[in-house]
Symmetry: C2
């Protein structure tokens, strides 16, 4: 065995352990017997501990040192793998173990305190925990920092390599302005769509039959995946031939599960189409949160928000649901789906106002890490921003600052991924349209050229290319939010009958 | 940490790895995406390899040597754990690694050759593989042998510690004689029950609803287990709080899934009620194949074959199935279930002829290992025995010697467990009846005292007691096949209206 082969075999062990942890996680979210939870925690913690240990131990350190000194012993492929491994290694190894364990303990406790704060709808219950997590994150930032960057850039980069506040400030300003203008147009000239039929009851089995057909057509491969019930929907890939999706069903809200499954299938299709040569290396799997969301949101919003798509799929839905939607024609149905209405809660928001929810979080996170704000003031800052951007004000902290779980886990810098994914999706859609008429395809029997384009331009690369390079190569330019604004304008002007 | 605590922590690691392998196995049998199979094989083989390595490596060897020299450092509990660990260690370590790997390769290939032989209904295709497996097993037997024993005893003991051909020869002779007498009585004096309704269609969901209620009543705890669909039904326990059962459904054979689920629930209830103090040691889990089968067969045959039980459950089945069984009264239904008819295939046989299928296999396995028969003659020996004991003769090897998978995997000595389980079940039933009226309980609303008795006498001990000791303590005597003969006689004389 060459040293490179040895190194790859070692990385494979880590991957296999992570796969076992993944299966355990999937199982615990999809039907593990409830009383098995404490046993499961033991198993998962043992296996993930072993994977973490192998990622940071003396053996790994020796590989890192060796190949740093002997890059000539690595093939081109080996170099790619080494570079990504080194990146992860540095991230993990710069934090002293005892401080990392302390942080784990802190966030683990913070979660239950956050739950308690939510029950009381009272931020002050959570405030001390949050402060400690922020303090510790600030302690880690200098250890993670590799070059000149703001504190918050360091956090951003953990989810979206190469992203900066400088870029996001500009991009988000443009998006904010665009959305506010669209909202004003709708307010003054629009005709609101009919939505009274949206909550008509559709049996779970019928929803499942419908959406299963839809995602199969989109290219989600059920011989390399499966669909299960859960409470908080997710996609989890054990490997490229086993990328599982999950959903929550509500018989009086069929559109939630339908779009939810289409969303998760987008994540799954990404994983299913990564080149097999990256198997068992850190290059297997999607390259960033933002690019991953671009694939799920392409499915959910671009495809699932397309009138041509629904012109094709709605008759199927009608035929499966008996008389339920007999009196609702295609145009009424479609426009009802795409109603926009400001809401206080991110996960309940529509595709026009969604980016504003993200921008609010981005601005606040940036204040926390790049400015010296008083954490006491967070709820007021939060509420003021909702009032300013969305025209509505939370009545309590549960529908305000306590709504998302991310901060209790120390995941700062994560939220922008959602908006990045949306912007990437619109930009990819624009580029794709230069090569084919996407709406025409969505109105047809055969969606395969869409998946082929996404595989060619995004999926196949796994984590071997950084987000910016992927977007650049696929669309000919860096992130450009104008495509999202144009997309939203056209869509919502249509829905609200604005000429 | 004391040396004992270190040892227990080490054993826990092995258990956790085995638990992960178990979850992977369950998943691969219940719905893993088909294309994930080759990836799954990599993961399972990595994890089980690690578990095997830890069970046999230098560290384990040191523990074994240390505690052999320092038994005084072990608590009473530690001594129990050490003894069982040593037993497994010796079994694993006496075979040279390269020969063991050779054996694994052999049986792995033999499986596909067996499948091919079945397709051709031709033993000669499988003969060479089987010969090689037998030769290698004969090579291993002296390495496993610890005391004076026949070759076949060594194999028997791997599934049923303490069992010998001397015991089984007597016991099986008695059982064979008993069954043949009962069959002669039925033949000459019996009135065959009506069975025309047995294959009436019952929807899968209805079958599931019914049998779920039944096993909950019997004490299978769904908060510590679950029921899934599979091809070859099994129970798999990840831990005592996660003992999963599976079944195969057939809408025109509701009794297959019903009794199948009740059977697997018996295995599950055993695991769910092992004392938690044995967690993460080799003493967790059932003590032998025979005792495990005694619990599943107690459920399936004793409970599921009880007229009192059906007097209580049949009205529920009727109420769930509309008019399906409206014209069939309780007595007709029950007797139809319990028809006996000689069959060529073990897994399709009834509870009277079943032991004969096992006895045939036992006699042949004994001939293979304790006598020097020509393997060429096996199909003829097989067919002759079926003709002699059951009065029917296989027309080809598929319905004859090729019907079971066990030999292709090298599992010689396993078959007797099925018959042992049945005999133990009848003996336990007899003992239980000294303390309570089991039929009365089965006709009632509350089955809990049956589970309590089995937990008290069998389940709680896990593998900390050997089969014979459990049976002795629970029933006041060693294995006694007369209870099974008496039980079958009473049951079948009733079913066949013999006064």
């Amino acid at each position: 065995m060459t040293k490179e082969q040895e190194f790859l075999a070692y990385l494979k062990e880590i991957s296999l352990l992570q796969e076992a942890v993944g299966l355990a996680e999937w199982d615990s979210q999809t039907g593990m017997p409830e009383e098995g939870a404490s046993y499961r925690a033991e198993m998962s913690s043992y296996l993930s501990g072993m994977a973490f240990d192998k990622s940071t131990n003396q053996t790994m350190t020796e590989y890192m040192t060796y190949f740093e000194a002997h890059p000539e012993e690595l093939s081109a492929f080996g170099k790619e793998v080494y570079a990504k491994t080194k990146e992860n290694y540095d991230l993990n190894n710069n934090i002293p173990v005892d401080r990392f364990q302390e942080f784990m303990k802190l966030t683990s406790n913070a979660h239950s305190i956050w739950v308690k704060a939510r029950e009381n709808k009272d931020y002050s219950v959570f405030k001390e925990s949050l402060e400690n997590i922020i303090l510790m994150t600030k302690e880690f930032i200098p250890l993670w920092k590799k070059e000149e960057a703001t504190n918050y850039d360091v956090l951003l980069n953990q989810y979206e390599p190469g992203m900066t506040t400088e870029i996001l400030d500009n991009v988000f300003e443009q998006v904010k302005k665009g959305i506010i203008e669209i909202r004003q147009e709708i307010e003054s000239k629009g005709t609101a769509p009919r939505t009274d039929f949206i909550h008509r009851s559709v049996a779970k089995e019928t929803q499942k039959e419908f959406v299963t057909k839809v995602i199969e057509q989109l290219g989600y491969d059920f011989s390399r995946g499966r669909l299960d019930d859960t409470v908080h929907p997710f996609m989890l890939n054990l490997n490229r031939n086993d990328a599982r999706i999950t959903t929550r069903w509500d018989e009086t809200d069929f559109i939630m599960a339908t779009l939810g499954v289409i969303h998760e299938a987008g994540h799954g299709m990404y994983e299913q189409n990564v080149d097999a040569k990256y198997d068992y290396t850190p290059l297997a799997g999607g390259t960033s949160m933002g690019i991953h969301e671009s694939q799920s949101l392409f499915n959910e919003i671009i495809v699932g928000g397309s009138q041509a798509f629904w012109s094709r799929q709605y008759p199927l839905l009608q035929s499966l649901t008996g008389d339920t939607f007999k009196d609702i024609d295609n145009d009424v149905f479609y426009k009802g789906l795409k109603e926009t209405k400001p809401s206080l809660v991110r996960i309940e928001s529509d595709s026009l106002t969604y980016p504003l929810h993200i921008i609010i979080r981005y601005e606040i996170e940036k204040m926390i890490f790049n400015e010296d704000i008083n954490l006491e003031d967070l709820p007021t800052i939060w509420n003021d921003k909702y009032e300013e951007y969305l025209g509505i004000r939370p009545e309590n902290d549960l529908e305000g600052i306590l709504q998302d779980v991310h901060w209790s886990g120390g995941s700062f810098g994560y939220f922008p991924s959602y908006a990045l994914g949306y912007m990437y999706a619109a930009q990819l859609y624009h580029a794709m349209n230069k090569e084919m008429n996407v709406e025409e395809i969505l109105a047809s029997d055969d969606y395969s050229s869409i998946l082929a384009w996404l595989t060619e331009n995004i999926h196949q690369y796994g984590s071997s290319r950084k987000p910016n390079q992927l977007i650049m190569d696929a669309t000919g330019e860096s992130l450009n939010p104008q495509y999202l604004i144009d997309y939203m304008k056209e869509l919502y002007f249509n829905v609200y009958d604005i000429a």
